[in-house]
């Protein structure tokens, strides 16, 4: 198979670039056209043929060599833009190695070998058999990742660690087919894949159905920890759950294949710290996986919401706020010099806080008759509740999907509106009039609009009022700067809201490697994969988030087992390998330009 063919990846671009090249050529020719001088006696000037050393004649019907050099360089550069390639025949198609990166690949009995170690050895032997073959390395984790595309590489230990909570082999196979059409697949896993294997797919599994005990789920909330412990072995399990700090121990007895939920109380001293829960199994032979025996849970941010009330609010509104905020442990007044979490303002205004509550508390103005004095119309409205609009315009209907309006008691609540409309998404409406709405401004600040005249409402004596502020506290906590969640599973999206002006977020992985993530509109999003505690920094602000690699499916090793399937036949067939050739065009263009320069230098003058 010695044939090959040549083509352009972007034919359309080539055809678009040709007119551009022609225009450039035209400009070139115009630029190089001779200036016309009228002379009275041309017989005094050189005849072109009679100029041995200088006064070179230039005839554009026969351009000089320089012209052709520049023309060729221009055409080569144009062609390089169109991504030329040469398609060469290969003896073998590329090999896509799909590496199962789930935690079950680390399972092993004491002194034994894990499926990852066995698989690595098998892969190396396969690569060595065909050293010049193109190999695509695809890590099958929660989502597949093309880790490398090279020939003969065997140092895959840097990206194949067996840390993922799951492995999407089907997605990885699809990625491989897309990246290298016609490639063969080699899947390295610890059990027979659940996907259908194509004839050209080799599969190798060195797993074994081992017993294992594991924490398969964990959650921390409001001073409590919910743990799901599982016994995936065939024998009953007597284990101990250890909570650090404090080394609080809880005895657990699990029947074979049993999964049990256990609630642990977080010690008061560790209420605002990370805690570690460890499942200790005395029988090491019944615990093939160690990485799923321990989980770190960061403290949820439940500190009181600092608030600030603007002096411009009407007296009735300030009084209603004092009634609900004073003594509420979820709120505290802002300290001097501190940026509040919540700013309560009478109208839309700039504020450094992440949440603004705009309370439209002044009653609606009545239409002033023409004969009524302006002075009377401008009287302070706090003192004129009897002149205001009706207290409510219809039944109250909430939007229950939002945290802010969830579970609000509305029975016998009298609502008096102060405005006819509100901006943003309506969360509560009285008849056709929005009375509570929310939106995010361009700085990602949460803006909440409350359309309520407290002087003509019974709201301050109604259960609505404290429940609403409890929802508000919960909303404000989620809008604070920092990670939206402090405990998450590997592969889940972590959103980190950055303080005003911060441009990037620095992440430090559990293994110490750091990376910079650029913020978009004050927020940095990423998907942490490695288990453990991630440190997050932005300027002077520091947070942490715990990434858990828990998975009942991966901890259950009963489905693991050895499996070997070879491709039906190693394809000794013509396979066309596309090799980009733009570099050759660029190199040739550079050589031509260098020759052009040499020609000019030999002329001993400037461009002629």
């Amino acid at each position: 198979m010695n044939d090959f063919f040549f083509g352009f990846e972007h034919n359309l671009l080539l055809w678009c670039a040709v007119p551009v090249a022609l225009v450039l050529l035209l400009l070139y020719l115009l630029h190089r056209r001779s200036k016309v001088r009228i002379v009275p006696a041309i017989f005094l000037w050189d005849r072109p043929q009679a100029s041995p050393h200088s006064g070179t004649r230039i005839n554009f019907r026969f351009p000089p060599a320089i012209f052709y050099l520049e023309l060729a360089a221009l055409l080569l550069l144009t062609a390089a833009l169109a991504a030329p390639f040469v398609s060469t025949p290969e003896t073998f198609p590329p090999l896509a190695v799909i590496l199962d990166d789930s935690i079950s690949m680390q399972a092993k009995v004491p002194g034994g070998r894990s499926p990852l170690e066995s698989g690595a050895e098998f892969v190396k032997s396969e690569i060595r058999a065909l050293p010049d073959r193109r190999v695509l390395w695809i890590v099958a984790a929660e989502s597949p990742v093309l880790a490398s595309d090279s020939n003969g590489r065997t140092d895959f230990g840097s990206f194949w660690t067996g840390q993922a909570a799951s492995s999407e082999l089907a997605a990885a196979a699809a990625l491989a087919r897309r990246m290298a059409r016609g490639c063969q697949l080699l899947i390295v896993t610890d059990r027979k894949p659940a996907i259908e294997l194509a004839p050209d797919t080799t599969c190798y599994s060195a797993g074994a159905p081992l017993g294992n005990s594991a924490i398969v789920n964990a959650r921390r909330t409001a001073g409590r920890i919910l743990i799901e412990a599982a016994n995936f072995s065939a024998l009953p399990l007597d284990a101990v759950l250890v909570l650090e700090p404090g080394a609080l121990k809880t005895q657990v007895r699990l029947a074979p294949k049993e999964t049990r939920r256990i609630v642990l109380a977080v010690p008061e001293a560790a209420a605002h710290e990370a805690v570690t829960v460890r499942l200790e199994n005395a029988d090491a032979s019944a615990n093939a996986l160690l990485c799923d025996d321990e989980v770190v849970l960061e403290a949820e941010d439940d500190s009181p919401v600092s608030y600030r009330v603007a002096t411009g609010l009407p007296a009735a509104a300030r009084s209603a706020l004092e009634r609900v905020l004073n003594g509420n442990p979820a709120f505290r007044p802002v300290l001097t010099g501190e940026t509040p979490d919540l700013d309560i303002l009478p109208a839309e205004a700039e504020s450094p806080s992440p949440v603004h509550l705009f309370w439209l508390a002044s009653p609606k103005k009545k239409t002033t008759p023409a004969n009524q004095s302006e002075t009377a119309a401008n009287q302070p409205q706090d003192n004129q509740p009897e002149d205001s609009a009706p207290s409510a315009s219809g039944p109250l209907s909430p939007e229950n999907s939002a945290v802010l309006s969830r579970g609000l008691p509305l029975d016998s609540l009298q609502w008096a509106v102060s405005a006819d409309d509100l901006p943003g998404q309506t969360l509560l409406r009285s008849g056709d009039v929005p009375v509570l709405s929310t939106r995010q401004n361009l700085n990602r600040d949460r803006e909440i609009f409350l359309n309520l005249d407290p002087a003509r409402s019974n709201i301050t004596h109604h259960p609505f009022w404290p429940v609403f502020f409890q929802n508000l506290a919960q909303t404000v906590r989620t809008e604070r700067f920092g990670p939206a969640r402090t405990n998450l599973r590997s592969g889940e999206l972590l959103q980190v809201r950055l303080p005003r002006g911060a441009q990037s977020l620095t992440t430090v992985r559990p293994d110490g490697k750091s990376a910079e993530i650029r913020a978009m509109r004050g927020q940095a999003d990423f998907r942490p994969m490695l288990h453990g505690v991630w440190k997050l920094e932005s300027g002077a602000d520091k947070w942490s988030a715990s990434v858990m690699g828990l998975s009942a499916e991966e901890s259950d090793l009963s489905g693991a087992g050895p499996f070997r399937r070879d491709a039906d036949k190693l394809a000794v067939m013509p396979f066309w390998m596309l090799r980009p050739m733009a570099w050759a065009f660029l190199l040739l263009a550079a050589l031509l330009l260098a020759a052009h320069h040499l020609v000019l230098t030999r002329k001993g003058g400037g461009p002629c």
Partner: protein, 291 residues
Amino acid sequence: MNAPAAAIPYFADAVERALAATGGVELTAPAQVSGIDGRRVGRRTGNALEFSEYREYRPGDDLRRIDWRVYARSEQLMIKLFSEEIDPRCDVILDHSASMASTERKASAAISLAAIFTTAAANSGFSLNLWHAADTFRKDPAPASPLLWDFPPFETPFSPSANPASFSGQFFRRGIRILVTDLMGPDDPAPVLSRLADGAKRAVVVMVLDPFELEPEPDANVLLVDAETGEERELVLDEGALARYHERLENHRAMWAAAAMSRGVLLLPLSAADFCPEIRPDELFHAGLLK
């Protein structure tokens, strides 16, 4: 007759500049001896009736002109000289070949020079003719009024030297003849110079060239086009090409200078830059043409 001068946009400007710069300037006659009526007379003595002066006898002088009465009184042989009266006449000939307008500055300078000479001649009371050496050799009807000249454009495809037969013999006898040209023709200068000098009391060729023609600068590709023949040459004006041009130009001028000297014709090379846009006629005064 139409008014071709209107087709030359810079004609009026050139004439007005010349008139403004030469107010009161007069043309210099070959010799100036005050006559009884203020008319110019020649330096060469002859058979005219006007007595001029005495001088000592020199061998070869005509013995009939010895004044014996003076000899009787002083015993010195003195010759009685008589002034030869010449006509105060002037012919100004302007070359209308296309090469005269190779640049606008050169054409303006040529017009200005013709206007200066005609004005100066008129100021001096000369009988004046202005000749346009175009396709045909013709006399202007209003030579002393430059703004009224019937002025053909500079489009004649040959210079006067290429067609000496057309160089008219209708000039004033024994007058001053001034040819304003660039001498940029490959032809033999002898015929045209002979015709110019024949019968003239004084013949002058004013050679006006553009600075580009005198000192061309190096340049990249230049397409040179001959103003009269249209012949083209595409050259790179590097130092070598310019040096050879200078050499040929000097040879050409030397050929004309030699031919002019042998015929008693004064050759006066001038730069168009001295007459456009400003008139600086110092060279004309130094050469004794104007006073």
